[in-house]
């Protein structure tokens, strides 16, 4: 994305975009909105890198033989794909872009509590990202994104320490974002904005922040141990020296399972905003949706060992973790049902954000429900480490979280850029993404149950798996097109899009009560809130010529 900023009309109102120009005014900004845009550019960059690796993975799997790339190259591809997508795209995506932009605005604050720490967190992300890029350019790593010991500590010839450092640094970036959100949400709410009046997006980010704060440090210290072990052969995880490789898995998943909720909770927050707006309704069961976010965050810490059912851990512990995994599914169920119920007797509009929301609803449900298969001990033994798992998490992370992210980008793009994107193209893109997605990942469920192991670059031993793989590869191409489209028309709209009014969707929420794009301190006068969230009974339908709502 280019750095140049289109000015709506010359000599216009001052906004956060045109307040100052020049590279330094961006690189040293403490304005949460500008930092959000910095993040937007950076994560988009990493998304396309990750996506590029994904395309190479899919191309290799087009034929059973390992013909396109070497085994080592393939191993590096999926490792870098996983690491980049998880640590450098999805975890920062919604919180650091949309959260950063919207959390202060939604609660009527002028900025996050610690603007300089916010900037620091972006720089940490960039340092981590540069380390990761450097690591990729100098050979990459082949440990899998899960970097299990003792392979990582004692066997791989690749430079894991650098990749580990990249993740370590990016982790601190994530911690600082969470810290900023928690403090901001507690301390900076506008007068009258009680907890019961908060948008569900804020609740979701609050829950996300809890996980970022309490989970991330554990992976950080685990990386320290792995790096030390790799450098000095300490024996903490190496069975030859008396260590236990399963301890690594415990510590890794203590973070990495909750981390999947870092990825999905913010998307769920977006869902609530979009569904409420385009059904013109208050979210059904507001408080249940709000508390289910917190419940997911807390229960999410209780289930990590469901990734280790065949790893050789205690059978009794497996029982405990399987049981708890079902406990965490209940709050997700509550959310799905409440969103569905919100549609009932609504007045539903099919604008692009809503299409993404429908996509999310379907794909997340399927991804979540296949999580129930995985959490069932007897089935997990068969399908763990197969494409069934790959399909499960892509359904949630790509079908759910990325769909949600795109939906949110469409929903708030007018606010962010002050421009409207071309609606027709946006609807088309949503459709292409949905079709391409299912074509890519549905066959993988079948492949997984058939027994195709993941992380295989060569399946010439079992050529009967080819047809399904071909379908999957075809789908990935479609999906790639679907992702390129929004990128193109968003960029296009920055210059050529129609100027957006302050509240083009006629949405509730404080962020819509200020100008598009907002001024540097968000509000011209400090808002005082006297209404519940989602007071849609007072608002007209979208697209009516905007009336600025007083009060």
């Amino acid at each position: 994305m280019s750095m140049e900023i289109a000015i709506p009309q010359p000599a216009e109102r001052e906004t956060y975009l045109n307040k100052e120009y020049g590279v330094w005014s961006w690189l040293l900004t403490t304005d949460h909105k500008r930092i959000a845009l910095l993040y937007l550019i950076s994560i988009t960059f990493f998304f396309f890198i990750g996506g590029f690796f994904a395309l190479l993975i899919r191309l290799e799997l087009l034929t059973p033989a390992g013909d396109l790339v070497q085994a080592d190259t393939y191993n590096k591809l999926f490792t870098m794909h996983g690491m980049v997508m998880i640590f450098f795209f999805l975890i920062p995506s919604i919180p650091a872009v949309l959260g950063n932009f919207l959390v202060p605005m939604m609660i009527g604050a002028k900025d996050l509590a610690f603007p300089r720490i916010n900037l620091l967190s972006w720089y940490l992300y960039i340092i981590g990202g540069v380390l990761m890029l450097h690591c990729m350019l100098t050979g990459g790593v082949d440990t899998g994104w899960t970097f299990y010991a003792p392979f990582t500590t004692n066997f791989t010839n690749t430079n894991f320490i650098e990749a580990g450092m990249a993740i370590f640094v990016a982790g601190f970036s994530s911690i600082l974002t969470g810290l900023n959100f928690v403090v901001t949400i507690h301390r900076m709410r506008a007068p009258g904005l009680t907890w019961a009046r908060l948008p569900l997006f804020i609740w979701a980010h609050y829950a996300t922040s809890i996980i970022q704060l309490l989970g991330t440090p554990v992976i950080a210290v685990t990386i320290v141990m792995v790096a030390a072990e790799r450098a000095l052969h300490l024996g903490i995880f190496d069975p030859k020296l008396g260590g236990d490789p399963l301890l690594f898995q415990h510590l890794f998943w203590f973070y990495s399972h909750p981390a999947v909720y870092i990825m999905i909770l913010p998307a769920m927050g977006i869902m609530s905003e979009i569904i409420a707006c385009f059904s013109r309704k208050r979210i059904f069961g507001y408080s249940f949706v709000a508390f289910s976010s917190i419940a997911i965050a807390v229960f999410g810490f209780l289930v990590w060992a469901h990734h280790m059912f065949v790893a050789g851990m205690s059978v009794y512990a497996a029982l405990v973790f399987s049981l708890l995994s079902y406990a965490v599914a209940v709050p997700s169920a509550i959310k799905v049902f409440n969103w569905t119920a919100t549609l009932y007797k609504g007045s539903i509009h099919y604008d692009a954000p809503m299409l993404y929301a429908f996509g999310f609803l379907g794909l997340f449900t399927m991804g979540g429900l296949t999580g129930l298969f995985l959490a069932a001990l007897g089935i997990n033994v068969h399908v763990t480490d197969t494409y069934f798992v790959v399909a499960h998490f892509h359904y949630i992370m790509v079908g759910g979280a990325v769909m949600g992210y795109l939906g949110g980008m469409h929903f708030w793009w007018p606010k962010i850029s002050g421009r409207l994107y071309p609606e027709g193209w946006a609807r088309l893109a949503a459709l292409i993404v949905f079709i391409g997605f299912n074509l890519t990942f549905f066959p993988q469920f079948i492949l997984g149950y058939l027994g195709m192991p993941r992380r295989y670059y060569d399946y010439s031993h079992m050529p009967e798996f080819q047809v399904l793989n071909v379908l999957s590869t075809a789908g990935a191409t479609v999906l790639g097109v679907g992702y390129l489209l929004p990128m193109i028309y968003f960029l296009w709209s920055m210059r050529y899009g129609k100027p957006a009014s302050d509240n083009p969707w006629n949405a509730a929420g404080l962020e819509w009560k200020t100008a598009s794009p907002p001024p540097t301190f968000n509000f011209d006068e400090e808002p005082v809130v006297t209404w519940e969230a989602y007071n849609y009974e007072e608002l007209d339908a979208p697209h009516t010529e905007e009336v600025r709502v007083a009060r």
């Binding site: 490789p245 509009h349 007897g378 027994g451 192991p453």
Partner: protein, 337 residues
């Protein structure tokens, strides 16, 4: 056509049916759930689409409804959990009299040795209808022994034994995969499980074996000098190993452990960790002096001189993760009572 486009994996073990039954149950339950949600969404979206002049009806929510749709899924989840747990226990509990096969994984091959002494690489011959227990360890990183047609999988770890078992039901050749990422040739760590009719299997078994595993263990036992301390009477400097397997052992520090495969393995590789009561700590460690295969042979030998009088009902607890044998556990060792 279907050869190139399978939709369901072959069923070739007693477990496969159980796993598939649960899977089908889940497909139905979640399928219905998905359908219900999709129908609601599509119906609401069509029925309540925006019409000029019609406004949305604001609905606060409904606590009874919330409780219903939390409680019902939860109950369904508990059924799935319980069913899954039952299948899992079946998978994790090898029958007592299963025939034993030792598996050593290394980057990137499977080395298999039958108790009878047959060795194979990336191949495993088994007869139809017999319980087979795999006692597995790895020489380097974590691997995972996966036979989709049998629906079983177990990670194979360095430094200790893990166990899985099956009973094949249909002759044929089935895939064997390494399912835990283990480095460059992870995807090359594949092989075949050859299931034969008992008669054929016997024939295969008799084709050129170097004698049972325990026999080579016995030879090694003499060559490595174990026999100098471990004699068949009470006079040795080390304990008499006859009959130890499967029995509780009194340790120096007061604990009691059951002598299972992992215990024997640890005694050989790290004798200091669990010392038998009443003996001096003089046994040297054989770590680094014996290969994984040799350890397996020694273990098999020590087991063989115990099995003659090993009490019935004593089950190797290396496998045994049965609820009945619950107890406190030691690190690299065995069960403490």
């Amino acid at each position: 056509m279907l050869n190139n486009f399978p939709l369901w994996p072959q069923q070739a073990s007693t477990l496969a049916g159980r796993v598939d039954a649960l899977y089908v149950f889940l497909l139905i339950v979640t399928g219905m759930m998905t359908l219900l949600i999709f129908i609601c969404v599509v119906y609401f979206a069509a029925r309540f689409r925006h019409r000029p002049g019609v406004r949305a009806e604001q609905i606060e929510g409904s606590t009874p409804l919330e409780i219903t749709w939390s409680a019902i899924p939860f109950l369904v989840f508990m059924v799935i959990f319980a069913w899954g747990a039952v299948v899992y226990f079946k998978e994790r509990t090898p029958p007592a009299d299963a025939s034993e096969v030792y598996v050593v994984a290394k980057q990137w091959m499977w080395k298999v040795e039958h108790a009878e002494g047959q060795r194979e690489i990336n191949e495993l011959h088994v007869p139809v209808g017999r319980d087979v227990k795999l006692i597995m360890t790895s020489q380097d990183v974590i691997h995972s022994f996966y036979i989709p047609a049998f629906r079983i999988k177990q990670d194979v770890l360095p430094g200790r034994y893990t166990v899985e078992w099956f009973r094949a039901t249909k002759p044929g050749i089935y895939h064997l995969f390494c399912a835990e990422y283990c480095g460059t040739q992870h995807s090359g760590m594949v092989g075949d499980i050859v299931v034969q009719e008992p008669a054929q299997f016997e024939a295969w078994m008799n084709g050129g074996s170097s004698g049972p595993l325990s026999a080579s263990g016995e030879k090694m036992f003499a060559e490595l000098g174990c026999a100098t301390c471990h004699r068949n009477d009470a006079g040795g400097r080390g304990p008499n190993l006859k009959g130890v397997f499967g029995k509780p052992v009194q340790l120096e520090d007061g604990r009691t452990v059951t002598a299972d495969e992992n215990y024997l393995r640890e005694c050989i590789l790290d004798p200091g960790a669990k010392r038998v009561k009443g003996f001096q700590p003089i046994m040297p460690t054989f770590q680094g002096l014996v290969s994984e295969e040799q350890v397996n042979a020694l273990v098999a030998y020590i087991k063989s001189i115990s099995s003659a009088n090993a009490g019935e009902g004593v089950k190797s607890s290396a496998s045994a993760a049965t609820p009945q044998s619950a107890g406190k556990v030691q690190p690299n060792g065995s069960q403490v009572q």
